[in-house]
């Protein structure tokens, strides 16, 4: 039953006009970004270094989160509120229904991320014959996950308060994605400044490449963002289930 709803919700998100348009923009942006920016390497590192890959993920993450936040707005729209009166009368528990909807949102984000990552892998293979893709697992985990959890949590929290707040949060996130904070990771949600700054100060290995070493500050900041995101998500989840 829930899997049917999940499939339906996922379909509804993926085939919506807005998702399709932003998805096309995201794919297009990924290709342009890889072939013009990342190919130069971030802060003098190789284009296939973990630092460069982090920069790629930071760049694409802004649009992926934009898609996520716009999809979130659907959850708090007037139409959705009206439909709730009907769905709350069904046999499916409200919490489960809400969790399924959130899961669908998370899956839609994962689908976009996977597509972009696949594009990047094809790029590295065809341009540099590089295939040590296991090196990219840590960047994917450290760059995408905390930011996603934080933005998703805050979006759900703000959306549960008011849809207008969620709309106001979207440009704030976009502006934050454009600003580089260099060595202040606790402000740098997207870690864009950090990944460009660190290779300039870290020691180099035998090939002359800056080593991929994350500072304790940075790890703590990611954990904090993840934690805050989770707390806000739980708070909003409770509030939303109560509302119905």
């Amino acid at each position: 039953m829930e899997s049917k709803i999940l499939k339906y919700e996922l379909k509804r998100i993926i085939f919506s006009k807005i998702f399709v348009i932003t998805f096309i923009i995201e794919i297009f942006y990924s290709v342009i970004n890889l072939y013009t920016e990342i190919i130069q390497g971030v802060s003098g590192t190789s284009p296939f270094s973990q630092w460069s890959y982090c920069k790629f993920l930071c760049d694409i993450n802004a649009i992926m989160l934009l898609i996520l936040m716009l999809s979130c707005t659907g959850l708090f729209s007037r139409n959705e509120q009206r439909v709730k009166e009907i769905t709350s009368c069904t046999a499916l528990p409200t919490k489960k229904y809400l969790a399924t909807k959130c899961l669908a949102l998370i899956l839609s984000y994962i689908i976009v991320a996977i597509c972009c990552i696949l594009i990047s892998l094809v790029f590295y293979k065809t341009t540099f014959s590089f295939s040590s893709f296991q090196n990219f697992l840590l960047p994917i985990l450290i760059i995408l996950l905390p930011t996603f959890v934080f933005v998703f949590g805050t979006s759900m929290f703000l959306g549960s308060k008011s849809q207008t707040l969620l709309y106001a949060w979207i440009p704030v996130v976009l502006v934050l994605s454009l600003v580089s904070f260099n060595s202040t990771p606790f402000l740098d949600i997207f870690a864009k400044g950090y990944v460009a700054y660190m290779p300039t100060v870290l020691p180099v290995d035998h090939l002359g490449e800056p080593v991929f070493r994350l500072s304790l500050d940075f790890i703590m900041s990611r954990l904090l963002f993840t934690l805050v995101g989770m707390v806000l998500y739980v708070a909003s989840f409770k509030k939303l289930s109560r509302k119905i």
């Binding site: 006009k17 920016e37 190919i39 590192t45 707005t73 341009t127 976009l174 180099v204």
Partner: protein
């Protein structure tokens, strides 16, 4: 009845709470711009807002206006979407669509929103007037304030409203419209480097000069808005065509609207074709994209071929009349050519785009010419290239008559270049006269320039002087032996002139601001005297230091016996305190450009003609290395070691570190994997770091190793051996021989 609806709807929009909030915010946006401007980095100001100049006028007018325009754009996207979405949001479309004309509704909404935009713009002008008065001290130039606020802020609001409405009518979705408009805003920020016409929000206005008029800034601003308006109008009209009819989908609505409002498709088609017409007929610049720049830099093929079978047997004579009021020039070029070959020879000449050929005569007979296509010759992308045929075994006079308005290249986006009312800047030789590509051994270019008597003409060479004045027109003479370096600057200049050990040092400053620039005349003397003492006297009869228009700002360069520096660069303060030394210190820029009179002007530093294996792969070895290091020596002498170290040495060290860590420096074999634009970008970085970091630090290492006295002794030796000897180049290996330092020491510092 119609008027009643229009008035009612406009009033309703203006009275709505959301509109009032937006108007209030938009009123304050330029003020917010002023408050956040100290925290904006130079990169944001230059790259995103497109402000290159740091003159007071630019910072007082353009910065707040552009920040205001960006923020107002965001606010009016929200307001327009909010207003247009009302019908769907309140589900009254089923009532309104069947009974009312969609055109009337949409146009009324647009009119109401435009009124709101106008109120906010006028309000922000009123709020910002005291700020203008406090900063500038008078209302001189206030017209630029009004023009800028109107065209930058209100212009961006008008375009935003039209585009947002168009996209909303097209997609009927708030989120999609907002996303598209967000990307349109990003496009305006990022695509400006390709063509200033794309800067639809902040416009391409780069700065205002305080002393030399504003060149093409205002025409550029107007053209920016005209192009933006054609694009926005096309989007809006197409949106109106696609506006959904009652119970009809996209295509059916499109067809029905086309049938119902016959003038609408015609207006759309007109507007759509206007986009291309306006784009291609841009009047200020010759279109030369960043792709052309990249391809030329990478391939290295930009030169027009020289036909060495044809020889220039006389000097080149040029008479140019400049009518700055009409932005127009008329010229005649004469030279005797000899074709000793048994076959007719085709020769080429370049002339700036904007000029047209009136007549070409050879041996007093008119001859035909053809314009070479940019597809055939790379240099035809930069200027017009013409081909003429010289008959076999002839020796006769070539006479080229031309006239028009020379245009600068769009890749530079410098609105001060060209002929303007108060200022003339013809910075390329082919802006002044045709560059004829035949064998020109030891031939000089000389002639006359006729121009308004109020303007002073400054050109390379020692014989640039006023020879007559009649009816308000002055005739200036010029003569120069390196025609490929010739340029012309004219403006209302005052001259600070001193004879220092046989060389006339002339400092050309803006006449209107003589008090502010007086002390800079003495600075130039200090710099000149220092270098003359340490290296040797400047051989040329006179050295000219010219203050140029600050419209583009922040630049300095040397060409022949002239060192140019932009007015805004000289207005910045120089700090004696090392803790405040910064890269924006422009005393260094002035010193650097004067140092080029020795390094580049008199001594040529290059490995180009050396066969010594030591000199291979040292393309950092250029005049820039010595000009920069000489700047260090002067600053060290004037402000102390700590200051010079902070300002230059530390920068070189950082730059060299970044260069050596760069992946493509370490692995040049990967360069071929790069496509044109990234290759251009990487090459630019590597070249910049080599020239302005690795080169000077190499010279510094030698200096540090042998000590200051020995270094200056070596400089004297170099001066005696290389100064003014065109066939002798100072290579890296020869420098090491003279100073007696090992290569490893020069490169690694130990």
């Amino acid at each position: 009845m119609r008027n009643a609806f229009f008035t009612y709807e406009t009033k309703r929009i203006l009275k709505s709470r959301f509109t009032r909030i937006i108007i209030l915010l938009a009123l304050l946006f330029p003020l917010i711009g002023v408050l956040i401007s100290p925290y904006l980095s130079e990169d944001i100001s230059t790259m995103i807002l497109g402000i290159h100049s740091s003159t007071r006028l630019s910072q007082t007018i353009l910065l707040p206006a552009k920040i205001g325009a960006v923020l107002s754009t965001l606010a009016f996207i929200a307001l327009t979407v909010f207003e247009f979405d009302k019908i769907l949001r309140f589900r009254v479309n089923y009532i309104i669509e069947p009974i009312s004309s969609s055109i009337k509704i949409n146009l009324t909404k647009i009119a109401g929103l435009l009124c709101a935009g106008l109120i906010s713009t006028v309000g922000s002008m009123i709020i910002m007037t005291p700020h203008y008065f406090i900063n500038i001290g008078s209302l001189v130039g206030y017209n630029y304030f009004l023009i800028s606020y109107f065209f930058i802020i209100y212009g961006s609001i008008v375009l935003t409203i039209l585009m947002t409405a168009g996209f909303y009518l097209l997609f009927r979705n708030v989120n999609i419209t907002c996303i598209i408009m967000f990307f349109a805003l990003l496009f305006s920020f990022l695509a400006g480097t390709m063509n200033y016409q794309y800067m639809w929000v902040q416009t391409g206005a780069s700065g205002f000069s305080e002393n030399f008029g504003n060149g093409n800034i205002v025409p550029g601003l107007l053209w920016n808005r005209l192009f933006g308006l054609t694009v926005a109008m096309s989007i809006f009209l197409f949106g109106m065509l696609c506006d959904r009819c009652y119970e009809k989908g996209f295509f059916k609505s499109l067809i029905k609207n086309c049938k119902k409002y016959k003038f609408l498709p015609i207006c759309f088609m007109f507007s759509f074709f206007s986009v291309f017409f306006v784009y291609h007929n841009e009047p200020i610049f010759k279109s030369f994209s960043i792709l052309d720049t990249a391809s030329m830099m990478i391939s290295g093929k930009s030169e027009t071929p020289v036909n060495s079978n044809v020889i220039g047997t006389s000097n080149m004579l040029v008479d140019l009349k400049i009518e700055e009021d009409k932005h127009y020039a008329t010229g005649v070029y004469r030279q005797e050519l000899q074709n000793s070959a048994d076959k007719p020879q085709n020769i080429y000449f370049n002339l700036a785009d904007g000029y047209h050929i009136n007549e070409i005569k050879f041996d007093n007979d008119p001859i035909n010419y053809i314009q070479v296509s940019p597809k055939i010759m790379n240099s035809a992308k930069i200027s017009n290239v013409y081909e003429i045929r010289i008959p076999k075994n002839t020796k006769a006079k070539l006479d080229i008559r031309y006239s028009g308005t020379p245009k600068a290249l769009s890749a530079v986006n410098d609105f001060s270049i060209g002929i303007n009312k108060d200022y003339v800047n013809l910075d390329k030789p082919y802006d002044i006269a045709p560059a004829v590509y035949v064998k020109q051994k030891d031939k000089i270019m000389k002639g006359t320039i006729k121009i308004d008597a109020a303007l002073t003409v400054i050109m390379q060479g020692n014989k640039n002087r006023k020879i007559s004045e009649q009816d308000g027109v002055t005739t200036w003479s010029f003569s120069y032996d390196k025609p490929s370096e010739l340029s012309l600057t004219a403006g209302r200049y005052g001259i600070f002139e001193r004879n220092v050990s046989g060389t006339y040092v002339e400092f050309f400053y803006p006449l209107a601001a003589s008090k502010e620039f007086e002390s800079r005349g003495n600075d130039t003397l200090d710099i000149f005297t220092f270098f003359s003492d340490k290296f040797g006297p400047l051989g040329t009869g006179n050295l000219k230091i010219v203050v140029t228009s600050g419209v583009h700002g922040g630049v300095g360069y040397q060409e022949g016996n002239i060192s140019y520096i932009a007015e805004d660069s000289l207005m910045k303060k120089s700090y004696g305190d090392s803790s405040q030394a910064s890269s924006s210190d422009t005393f260094a820029l002035l010193t650097h450009e004067i140092a080029h009179q020795w390094w580049g002007g008199g001594i040529d530093v290059t490995n180009g003609s050396s066969n010594n294996p030591i000199d291979k792969n040292h393309d950092e070895w250029t005049n820039e290395a010595f000009a920069d290091f000489s700047t260090y020596l002067f600053l060290k002498n004037k402000f102390g070691k700590a200051y010079a170290d902070n300002l230059l040495l530390n920068q070189w060290k950082e730059g060299t570190k970044d260069l050596n860590r760069n992946f493509y420096r370490r692995n040049p074999q990967y360069m071929k994997k790069l496509s044109m634009i990234p290759k251009y970008s990487v090459s630019l970085f590597l070249r910049g770091s080599k020239l302005y970091a690795l080169g000077p630090i190499t010279v510094y290492n030698v200096y540090h190793h042998i000590g200051e006295d020995n270094y200056f002794n070596a400089m004297k030796v170099i001066y005696n051996k290389y100064y003014d000897k065109r066939d002798k180049k100072l290579s890296f290996s020869e420098f090491l021989n003279i100073t007696g330092v090992a290569k490893e020491v020069a490169i690694n510092g130990k």
